[in-house]
Symmetry: C2
Subunit: 337 residues, 2 copies
């Protein structure tokens, strides 16, 4: 792309050996070199506009200072904050993040991860919640560093960072129960997603515990359309009455909004709705959405931290970090009439 200035160029001008320039420019090794020489070399490097070639360095040191981040879809608004969290931890430490979107497709994911490995990423942050556990075990035996985020899976041999899904669902149901609701729907995410399973499972447990009637409706994706379609289908079948919906995430809750509206049902007058994630703009929906806040930025930070920590202490146990969530009460939930 450009006639770059190399270490050898600097060395030539400075009248020293490339090795000396390398040592001088690296803060780690500059104490091996005469202070005066360091100063001189630094000066010349600056004058020439020398910039290190990270690629060449990586080839030699076997570290690319690059982390692969695998997410389902960047346009799902929970991921940008997560990615920025990752970035905020990595950048000051000299790492860059290479982001890929799997679109929830396991085959695509495998292809993308392979391309990340070919690019010699030092580790992987995986935020795709579906299957592929075999693949992960394989990676682990091959010595690939990774951290899971926003997904939970008992068999996975890697550290995991999640929001406290169970506590979130519990808080949601308790809030609705306090408002007098007894007949519940859970609009559950796709069943191949680990978060879906936990949320649905907790929903069932909590309904039982509190003596409430809970019914689970499955959706095919964590999207507005999937939520609307599933809800439409349910409402078209003249279901037994219900007054509360606990959605698997905010997108599904929004789909429920749409469906309720087209069926002449008002939220929250007829039906209370709770989302999950507190993604951007939930406060601007009609009505402003009661939802469970999940600290996605912090999840990203934590995932990055756990990954880099693996580089130091080789054999760390696969820790599991659960970040606290909190119920954000807005206007989509109301007293049962």
């Amino acid at each position: 792309m450009r006639n770059r200035v190399t270490l050898a160029d600097v060395a030539k001008i400075a009248g020293v050996n490339p090795g000396t320039v390398s040592r001088s420019l690296n803060p780690q090794t500059e104490n091996q070199v005469n202070k005066e020489t360091v100063r001189k070399i630094r000066k010349i490097a600056k004058e020439l506009g020398y910039t290190p070639n990270t690629v060449a360095r990586g080839l030699r040191t076997r570290k690319s200072l690059t982390i692969g981040v695998v997410i389902p879809d960047l346009t799902n608004p929970i991921f940008p904050p997560l990615v920025r969290g990752v970035d905020s931890y990595l950048l000051p430490r000299g790492y860059s993040a290479l982001i890929v979107n799997s679109d929830g497709n396991v085959d695509t994911e495998l292809v993308l991860i392979n391309s990340l490995m070919e690019r010699q990423v030092d580790g992987l942050i995986i935020a795709t919640g579906h299957g592929g556990d075999e693949m992960l075990k394989d990676f682990h035996t091959r010595g690939v560093y990774a951290v899971m985020v926003n997904r939970e899976s008992p068999g996975v041999p890697y550290p995991t960072v999640t929001g406290d899904d169970g506590a979130g669902i519990s808080a949601a149901i308790e809030h609705l129960a306090a408002l007098g609701h007894t007949e519940y729907i859970h609009l559950a995410g796709p069943s191949d997603s680990s978060t879906s399973k936990i949320r649905a499972h907790t929903f069932t447990i909590e309904c039982k515990r509190l003596g409430l009637n809970g019914k689970i409706i499955k959706t095919t994706a964590y999207s507005i359309e999937a939520g609307q379609t599933a809800m439409d289908k349910f409402l078209d079948h003249k279901p037994s009455p219900f007054t509360a919906i606990v959605a698997g995430n905010d997108l599904l809750a929004l789909g429920a909004y749409h469906s309720l509206r087209t069926h002449g049902l008002n939220c929250p007058d007829d039906v209370s709705v709770i989302g999950f994630n507190n993604m951007p703009f939930t406060n601007d929906f009609q009505p402003p959405m009661t939802t469970v806040n999940v600290p996605h930025f912090d999840m990203g930070v934590e995932a990055a931290r756990l990954l880099l920590s693996q580089f130091e202490d080789e054999e760390s146990a696969p820790v599991k970090v659960t970040l606290p969530v909190s119920l954000i009460i807005r206007e989509s939930t109301a007293l049962k009439k």
Copy 2:
């Protein structure tokens, strides 16, 4: 990260020279080698689980197959679609995108671009709308490939991809004029942004052309808060009456929503509001927002296409691609009462 299988390993097992393996595995050069040998080598490579080392290849070929993408902030919902558009063009062609967030800070941007260059990116896609034109000229003379997207600047020596800002503002004003509005506010984005300038400029021109009263309010950022703050300040000063707001983007329009509400003004009964971008969820706001659709995904695709095309025909003129926009009429605009 792992005991990788190298080209030399494959060569040794196959009983041939590394060069031959390289040629056999590269579709471009495999015809230089005996079909039978290619088959054998391919087979062995597969068995050994060989994966090419993109970093080493890049060092040798002086192409990293990596593109740097500089955006202000991934959590601004217009950028994920743009990034995915870029990705959709790059990935099938073997390129990866390295995304960095400048947060609208010129100094940060410079640091980030430098780090991208150190990583030997083959080119840059720059979506930050503010200054730095000197820097860009400098890059250009140094032979750095780049494309500007979502920013317009007469002096910049690079191809540019934008939405048709002027047409968007015109359509917005014509729509409002047809509804009988005569007193307008333009909530303009920060003045160091090129899109802000064009939108504000067109606003002035169009008001004049149609004989309308237009007033510009400047904001400090393209954010909800900045929109709300600017609007609050304006409304607190008991301004001369107005019935239409043309916002610089959807975030500012949303800020205006908030401000109007706290000042007891109803949208669209008292004031019509138009946004810009048609970002995700504008249809779910209260009221659903009339806005100008900008094809961000396509802008990303086009930017990537223009960048790669530079790699082929060296001296292409700095083309300027303007993508069509369209007014999306929803419920935040109504007849003047």
